[in-house]
Assembly symmetry: C2
Homo-oligomer: 141 residues x 2
DNA sequence: TCTTAAATGCGAATTATTTGCAATTAGGAG
DNA sequence: CTCCTAATTGCAAATAATTCGCATTTAAGA
């Protein structure tokens, strides 16, 4: 439950934080602060944009959320409970979709041999054009 | 040569662009616009920051440069030599070493089937501990 | 050499995000 | 249950990175 998530992170359970978390929980895609803010407004939750930013940051620090930086430099956030740590982002409409496979796991042994490095972490961002935008761009022609 | 790079990209060869490109060429690490700007000033090249931004963007569009978005959302740029586009960075001493293999190339077909996305680009940052730092940390114990 | 589209400089605008501060509130102590 | 305090929020203003509009300059080809 959302209140437990907050308690676990040693954070006060405020209505703002609960609403923000549930918006993110319900979303299939990572959401930017502004997007969370708009979805809150759609539900008539009057929560200040600064609060949204602050909440997303603190929850990321507490590892409740995962921060994903898109190709255009903007950040988006998702619950950090899934194995989906990699995303592909459409460079036309900016939608992100998770990728099941992680190609780095299998690479670390190879890297160890090649470079002597012990791999401790990685960040992978793939950009592309989603099926919808591909279709639209073909229609235009 | 730098002038040929510009000619190849169908861009006018201006002194500003040449200086910017040579700064990036000489750097072992990807550079942010502001960093390029400062290095230019160190060489007493008076080039406007807007010009730096514009040049980096247009060269990225022409695939001369590769844009890398850092974890904090800021962009940095490096020459797109295509062979070693990926680096592993030691999180202790911050040294970067290129990685020969690119695991994304072989992944794009799989991604197309999984998500419908046409892959157009990617940015991969791997962090780890280099052999030297590993050795040092063992010596300490 | 002349012409002109492309490139540059400069300041102002934009966008995403952060911050300072006063007002409010959650949740534990009494 | 009430009170207290530190944490949280709202608001408005600040910052940082990047882009834009427009007048001026320049590369390069006719």
């Amino acid at each position: 439950m959302i209140e437990d998530i907050l308690k676990n992170a040693m954070l006060k359970s405020t209505k703002q934080r609960c609403f923000i978390l549930s918006i993110i929980d319900e979303s299939k895609e990572p959401l930017a602060a502004e997007e969370v803010f708009k979805l809150l407004q759609d539900e008539s939750r009057n929560i200040n944009l600064s609060t949204v930013y602050r909440t997303l940051n603190i929850l990321t620090e507490k590892n409740v959320l995962l921060k994903i930086v898109r190709g255009d430099g903007t950040a988006s956030f998702q619950l950090n409970n899934s194995s989906h740590n990699h995303y592909i982002t459409c460079c036309v409409c900016n939608r992100s979709v998770p990728i099941d496979s992680c190609p780095i796991q299998s690479l670390s042994e190879k890297i160890k041999n090649e470079t002597g490095f012990e791999v401790t972490g990685h960040s992978l961002q793939i950009s592309g054009i989603c099926a919808e935008c591909l279709k639209k761009s073909k229609e235009k022609k």
